[in-house]
């Protein structure tokens, strides 16, 4: 662990730098969107990491309710915080892309609305934890919210199929790739970079959570 975390951080920095280069310089402009397509190289990875974070909350919350081990709660809480951050970034990136391409910052489109609902659910998750008088009860209630909230992910993902929507459909569906190879490469590098960076942030955040719990225990020990 002593070496793993700096190595993971270093790998994230290298991949993120490569992703910036690929997204800003190496990728060609899109035939329809022109250079606005470059926003996709931060918007799509942000949304992907939000999905990953919510999946982490989902699995860790089930394990916490089942095993009642604090480590699962620490992972769920940490991932929920990252989920809120990256969902907000996905929304922000999408809005900045939408203004010049769609002519509006926001529209009541199924993909946008379901993503905003995800943001609100996990903001609620964090609020429940912050406001709970009994931390254990707060953790249990948050775990239920974390599990139920994750059901929004398939709705978000398939919203472009199920509803009439402005949002572009997926460019990669079961091996059918509707992207030029240089664009696909730029997207894949950024997806990998954001995934590695998410792993790094999650480990740091779980460590913080663990230490804060230990600090509270030590303070109680010192007082009592």
């Amino acid at each position: 662990m002593r070496l793993f975390l700096p190595l993971l951080g270093g790998a994230a920095v290298i991949l993120l730098a490569a992703g910036l280069y690929a997204g800003l310089f190496a990728s060609p402009p899109d035939a329809f969107q022109g250079n606005y397509v470059r926003i996709m190289y931060v918007h799509v990875p942000s949304a992907w990491v939000a999905y990953l974070a919510v999946f982490t909350v989902f699995v860790a919350s089930i394990l916490y309710l089942w095993k009642r081990r604090a480590v699962y709660d620490h992972v769920a809480h940490s991932a929920a915080e990252l989920g809120v951050l990256f969902t907000a970034l996905a929304l922000a990136g999408g809005m900045i892309w939408g203004k010049p391409v769609w002519g509006t910052w926001w529209t009541w489109d199924a993909r946008l609305v379901t993503t905003a609902i995800l943001f609100l659910i996990y903001t609620g998750y964090l609020l429940v934890r912050a406001l709970a008088e009994d931390p254990e009860r707060g953790a249990r209630l948050a775990a239920v919210i974390g599990i139920v909230g994750a059901l929004d992910i398939p709705v978000i993902h398939y919203s472009v199929v199920w509803f009439r929507t402005l949002h572009p459909p997926a460019s990669i569906v079961r091996g059918d790739i509707k992207m030029a190879p240089p664009m696909l490469a730029a997207l894949m590098i950024n997806l990998l970079a954001f995934t590695v960076f998410y792993a790094y942030l999650l480990i740091l955040r779980v460590r913080l959570e663990r230490l804060e719990t230990m600090r509270a225990a030590l303070e109680a020990e010192a007082e009592g």
């Binding site: 010049p100 740091l204 230490l211």
Partner: protein
């Protein structure tokens, strides 16, 4: 909004938020590690908690 302005805004927002989060996370970690060390000198039981 021109493409350079939109791209600068999008990358600026994403990267500013990520770097701010990382900076706050590291600052909180340093603070809590210092607190646990200080508690350890009082209780002599905190050493295991700050092992990386």
């Amino acid at each position: 909004m021109s493409p350079p302005a939109a791209i600068t805004l999008a990358y600026g927002v994403v990267w500013a938020a990520i770097l701010l989060y990382l900076w706050r996370l590291r600052r909180r970690l340093r603070q809590v590690e210092a607190d646990v060390r200080a508690q350890h000198t009082q209780t002599r039981s905190g050493e295991v908690f700050i092992e990386r």
